[in-house]
């Protein structure tokens, strides 16, 4: 339905280019399940984090110099001499961590409530692409300050590609633009670190488009049966998202202003030194579970441990693409899946365990924990997911969202066109 506006200019533009109609349709009257809980806040939070990262990033780019001799000092110049440079840089630095926190929670919410299932498979797969792009962006961004962890992290991670059979070393040289991580590497990482967020922004557009085709899933995981199950996005979810944003910003700003270096590695305040390997090379916390998988896999038959580790690491994300088809259960929400409901938490524990393994030297019990954790990750998705769907007996689903939500039976239903003002 075209937007009815009193404003002549708006009407004139909308008649020729219906952006106002579009915005009204997608952000205002867009029908949303009425029972979304606060776990549904993290999608919009991730979107806001993306914008915060892009905006702070552009301002940092104005002062940053991508040269191995100048990069470290240019970042320190931002921290010391640029007006509020310390603020912008700390927001960007901690923003990366918080972007991952909200994204991981967003993904786990999808896993718990079955948001990846028919008809939202593509929505989920696009999300996995976003995750991959985020990881690439974060990794390359961490290289830019050219501290010790930047340099050695880049060296370790780019070296992974040498595990590719036959052409591995050629690929690594090609990635580096030389025979070690050096100025060409820093320059291309900078170019890509600037480019990728805009690619992500575009993919987020597709993500939202796919979302708005069938609308949000909901904690009950059942389809909306009619207008009584929906409420318009605005004002209900705009205000709920805004409130969630307020709480999120309180925590985020707590870190930015009172503990800006808590999530970072002190070694990255040491200038990169290609001649001195730091005692520990540890990635940022959000990569620890994957780093643990990389290091945990032993030689398997004719596959060397290095290649096997790389395969496990990329495979751990790769299998998320086929997740919608690994899950054989017709029921979306774990609330009605008595077995999966608990198995879900095993995955959470497994990933926390893997993160701890990633933070420790691969010695003693940590090696065993890493192997078991990695094994469980794959068993969880490749074996438990299909089997639980077959053998689990789901609980009866409620008839409709509104019936389940209005507990007292027939409370006032705010229909899709309910006015927001109360008399």
């Amino acid at each position: 339905m075209a937007l009815q506006s009193q404003n002549k200019v708006v009407r004139w533009i909308d008649h020729r280019l219906p952006i106002f109609t579009f915005m009204n349709h997608e952000l205002n009257e867009y029908p949303t399940p009425k029972n979304l809980n606060y776990w549904w806040n993290y999608g919009s939070l991730a979107g806001i984090m993306l914008l915060i990262m892009i905006i702070t990033g552009i301002f940092l780019a104005m002062e940053y110099t991508p040269n191995v001799n100048l990069a470290f000092d240019s970042v320190e110049r931002i921290m010391r001499d640029v007006n509020y440079g310390w603020l912008i840089r700390y927001i960007h630095m901690n923003g990366a961590s918080f972007f991952f926190i909200v994204t991981y929670i967003h993904i786990f919410r999808g896993l718990y409530f079955g948001s990846y299932k028919q008809p939202r498979e593509l929505l989920w797969m696009i999300g996995v692409v976003i995750l991959l792009c985020m990881m690439a962006t974060a990794f390359m961004g961490y290289v830019l300050p050219w501290g010790q962890m930047s340099f050695w992290g880049a060296t370790v991670i780019t070296n992974l590609f040498s595990a590719v059979p036959l052409v591995g070393n050629e690929i690594v040289t090609w990635l580096w633009g030389g025979f070690s991580v050096d100025n060409p590497t820093l320059n291309r990482f900078y170019a890509l670190h600037y480019l990728l967020p805009f690619v992500i922004l575009g993919i987020v557009g597709l993500h939202v488009m796919a979302l708005h085709t069938h609308g949000s899933n909901n904690p009950l995981g059942i389809d909306r049966k009619g207008p009584q199950d929906s409420i318009p996005f605005h004002p209900y979810y705009t205000i709920k998202d805004m409130f969630g944003l307020g709480v999120f910003l309180l925590i985020f700003c707590g870190f930015v202003f009172f503990g800006p270096n808590l999530l970072g590695d002190p070694a990255n305040y040491i200038r990169a030194n290609p001649l001195q390997t730091p005692p520990e090379i540890v990635p940022e916390w959000y990569f620890l579970p994957f780093y643990a998988m990389l290091r945990s896999v032993p030689d398997i038959l004719f596959i060397k441990a290095k290649l096997a580790g790389v395969l496990a690491m990329f495979g751990s994300i790769g299998l998320l693409f086929i997740l919608p088809w690994l899950d054989t259960s017709p029921v979306r929400s774990a609330r009605f899946r008595p077995v999966y409901k608990w198995v879900f938490w095993l995955l959470v524990i497994d990933i926390v365990l893997l993160a701890m393994v990633g933070a420790h030297r691969p010695e003693g019990l940590w090696v065993i924990a890493g192997r078991l954790g990695t094994l469980y990750y794959f068993v969880h998705f490749l074996i438990l997911f299909p089997l639980i769907g077959i053998f689990e007996r789901p609980l009866p689903l409620p008839n409709s969202i509104s019936e389940a939500v209005t507990k007292k039976g027939g409370g006032k239903v705010a229909g899709a066109t309910a006015p927001m003002e109360k008399p």
Binding site: K34, D73, E76, M79, R80, W86, L87, Y90, I101, I105, I231, P235, Y236, I239, K240, M242, F243, G246, V247, L249, L250, C253, G254, V256, F257, F258, P260, N261, L262, L263, D265, P266, A267, Y269, I270, P279, E280, V282, W285, L288, W345, V348, I349, V352, A355, M356, A359, H360, R361, G411, K412, A414, A418, M420, K422
Partner: protein
């Protein structure tokens, strides 16, 4: 149920954060004693008297071997971040002018020496790292600009190193050029114990014990590493108060808007 879920999530996050901290303790090291710092906590500021005493220690002791390349003399003065160390412009000029720095080339194409100015970075004790190494049995005294932020344990660690010199335990073989330090990784440190009682004479008359000197110079080095700390915390307090208020208003609005749905 939901509370449990939340608690579990927080615990998970906590584990991840803590586990990276736990890493440092895997080596057999005595735990760092937690010192009381003026810059601790959300309202922490730099004790200006301690900063100036710390500067005196740096100037008379540390700066003989260590550079402080990221800091300028002007940073010490009122134009510096957060008002600097509390020195006025004339004092800063005098501190700078006491050091000679290389400038040029001049009209004749020659480099020349001149007294340092406020806009100059702190003049390093050696022209380059190689010269510094040559003077120290091959060991390079690190630049101190970021030392407090660049070590696990931060200010407590640097304090621990400065006060952590002990006699070499029996049975441990120590090269002639090394000292035993209980907080240094591997316990063999090239730097001889830099501080001792009454090594400096403080302008403000404070008794210069080793602990006092260490505490002061670490305060100074924390400032050098994070000169905007006071500004950051002050801004942070205002931001948090605003956010609390805003979030409260948003919550009230959310309750009101959703009242018709529940």
């Amino acid at each position: 149920m939901r509370k449990h879920v939340l608690a579990l999530g927080l615990a998970a996050l906590g584990f991840v954060v803590l586990s990276s901290g736990a890493m440092a303790q895997e080596e057999a090291m005595p735990p760092l004693a937690k010192q009381k710092w003026s810059f601790d906590g959300p309202f922490g500021t730099y004790d200006r008297a301690a900063l100036q005493r710390g500067f005196e220690v740096f100037q008379n002791v540390c700066s003989n071997c260590h550079s402080l390349k990221l800091v300028t003399y002007g940073d010490y003065g009122p134009g510096g971040p957060g008002g600097g160390l509390g020195y006025n412009d004339d004092e800063v000029k005098a501190i700078a002018a006491a050091k000679e720095t290389t400038d040029g080339p001049n009209d004749q194409g020659e480099m020349f020496q001149r007294p340092a100015r406020a806009s100059d970075h702190i003049v390093p004790p050696f022209p380059n790292d190689q010269a510094n190494r040559a003077a120290h049995n091959g060991a390079l005294p690190p630049d101190l600009s970021l030392i407090v932020k660049a070590r696990e344990g931060n200010a407590d660690y640097v304090y621990g190193i400065l006060t952590g010199y002990k006699p070499t335990p029996a049975g441990m073989k120590m090269p002639d050029t090394m000292q035993y330090n209980e907080h240094f990784p591997g316990h063999q440190i090239s730097m001889p114990a830099p501080l001792s009682d009454d090594l400096v004479t403080y302008a403000d008359g404070t008794k210069a014990t080793t602990a006092q000197e260490a505490h002061d110079v670490v305060t100074f080095l924390q400032w050098a590493a994070e000169p905007h700390l006071e500004d950051r915390k002050r801004t942070g307090v205002k931001v948090m108060i605003f956010l609390l208020f805003m979030t409260g208003v948003l919550y009230a609005a959310k309750r009101k808007i959703w009242a018709s749905v529940h």
